[in-house]
Amino acid sequence: MNALETQGLGIRFGAFQAVADVNLSLEPGARQALIGPNGAGKTTLINLLTGIYKPSSGSIRMNGQDITAMPADRRARQGLARTFQINTLFPSLTPLLSVVLAIHEREGQGATWWRPYRRSTAAFDEAHALLARLRLDALANLPVAELAYGKQRLLEIALALAARPRILLLDEPAAGVPEDESAELFDVIADLPQDISVLFIEHDMNLVFKFARRISVLVAGRILTEGTPAEIGRDPRVREVYLGTAHVNAIHGAAHV
């Protein structure tokens, strides 16, 4: 049974078909990349998977269960976490409280109104540990609005991880993060327990070819091809519409890993 599986998934915005007839499957423990030209529909696909958009056609199954009509928050509670391409954070909270908040919601305590949140020591400990893992611990008590962009990108991931997801969807997690740190970041992701499935969108081919075990290529809303990094790197169609010529070496490098 696949962690996530879509069938004929599609959405139109007016006359514009942003995603069409996508059959995508994510195995348990997958480390899968989703690449494609700008405007191919990658983010839209993630929005469909997480329930922000309702599809105009097709269906989505999560661990065998049909979730096509399930609201976004329920999907999240069932273990589907994501990050956003454009920072979507809590500007007036601190990173620490943001993560604690996410942990509360995961634990189903979001409606607890009769005791102070300060007493949630377990949640705070966990939050500290998580922030430390992403090297955000020094900034834990600063308002999020005052963090530099790159740090905010990291917090995006922290919030997703705080949900202890079973499926993690990352929308360009490393954009705006310096190269060495983005590698570290992907190490964190790679080190996640093996039963967690990860699907990530990324335009940095070094990262894609290094961390993905499988790559899906989306072009104009449709899956153009899928395969191992080596297969994708060799595919002339992918090169023509997406890769260009610059990344030949990175691909070859990755192929040796």
Binding site: T50, I52, P71, A72, D73, R74, R75, A76, R77, A81, R82, F84, T88, L89, F90, P91, S92, L93, T94, L96, L97, S98, V100, L101, A102, H104, E105, R106, Q109, G110, A111, T112, W113, W114, R115, P116, Y117, R118, S120, F124, H128, N141, L159, A160, A162, A163
Partner: protein
């Protein structure tokens, strides 16, 4: 401009001092007890509004609907033979809370302006219903014939407003502590999250609308208690208690005090009502002019109301967790 950093302990002390000072006005300002109890009640109403507006981010100019619902509940109960004050409060709390929950379904969806207008609409409609049902409510003449029994069977509501003050003080303090607890709970944190970024809340699995509905119902219930308190201490309920003007006034009071800051409502009520009373005494015809100038001056001097200006001077040290 230097900011003064207060530790958590100092903040707590400041809070205690605030309430002690209020309590001591029983002895310090015995001639102003009625004004003081009305300030407390209006302050509680503003705190209730803050729960919806400042914390849950629901822009509403219709909160008098719940204040009025509470007032009429307590008033009708006392008119029809049951004048025990505490049970009146509890019933008002329940009625307003249920009404709030029911209306929340109309309100949590939609954008700010939409919510604003729906709350106004609902409030005006309710006022019109009260006007039409004059057989029960007395319409614009007001609800006559309330008989509120002595508090605890012992303390009559007296001419000097002593009983009213002590009664209002205790109830307001109690409810306020409840609100304070709620805002510092995981639920309160979730509200801050929703206020900041609804989309992200959904993504971390928070049922945003359910949370907002709950907050709105809480807020309505507290407003209902404030309304009931006002009815019991005035021993009269006028139709103004449910109208648009009261909703707008309480919004001004809260904004003056500062939204989303717990004490904003209380401080706003104090400043607004004292300043208003003072200007109205000095100049019964044109106090509006001075009050208007005052409001403009407050905005020009600092954003976020009085508490907002204060918070730029005084900053809580982040607790080391």
């Amino acid at each position: 401009m230097k900011t003064l950093a207060l530790s958590e302990r100092q903040l707590r002390l400041a809070e205690v001092a605030f309430w002690l000072l209020l309590a001591s006005s029983f002895f310090l300002a015995p001639d102003h007890l009625t004004l003081l109890s009305q300030i407390l009640i209006v302050g509680l109403f503003a705190v209730a509004l803050d729960m919806a507006l400042g914390y849950a981010g629901i822009l509403t100019v219709g909160h008098a609907a719940f204040f009025g619902a509470g007032a009429y509940t307590a008033g009708l109960l006392a008119k029809h033979g049951w004048g025990e004050p505490f049970s009146g409060l509890v019933l008002a709390l329940v009625v307003a809370g249920v009404l709030g929950y029911a209306l929340s379904f109309l309100i949590v969806r939609g954008a700010d302006l939409t919510r604003l207008m729906i709350t106004i609409g609902v409030c005006v409609l309710l006022a019109e219903v009260v006007n039409r049902a004059s057989g029960i409510t007395g319409g614009t003449d007001g609800l006559q014939g309330m008989q509120v029994w002595p508090v605890l069977g012992l303390f009559e509501f007296d001419l000097f407003g002593k009983t009213a003050f002590v009664y209002a003080f205790c109830v307001v303090l109690l409810v306020f502590l409840g609100v304070r607890l709620m805002l510092r709970s995981p639920f309160g944190l979730a509200l801050r999250g929703i206020h900041d970024n609804r989309k992200r809340m959904l993504a971390i699995g928070s049922p945003v609308e359910a949370r907002l509905r709950m907050a709105y119902a809480f807020s309505a219930a507290v407003a209902g208690v404030a309304g009931a308190l006002m009815a019991q201490t005035t021993q009269f309920v006028g139709i103004e208690s449910i109208g648009f003007n009261r909703s707008a006034e309480i919004l001004i009071i809260l904004v003056l005090g500062g939204t989303g800051r717990l004490y904003g409502g209380l401080i706003g009520a104090m400043v607004y009502m004292v300043v208003h009373d003072w200007f109205a005494d000095l100049n019964p015809e044109y106090w509006m002019f001075w009050l208007g100038i005052f409001l403009i001056a407050v905005v020009m001097l600092g954003r976020g109301g009085i508490m907002g200006a204060l918070s730029r001077r005084v900053r809580a040290k982040e607790p080391a967790q």
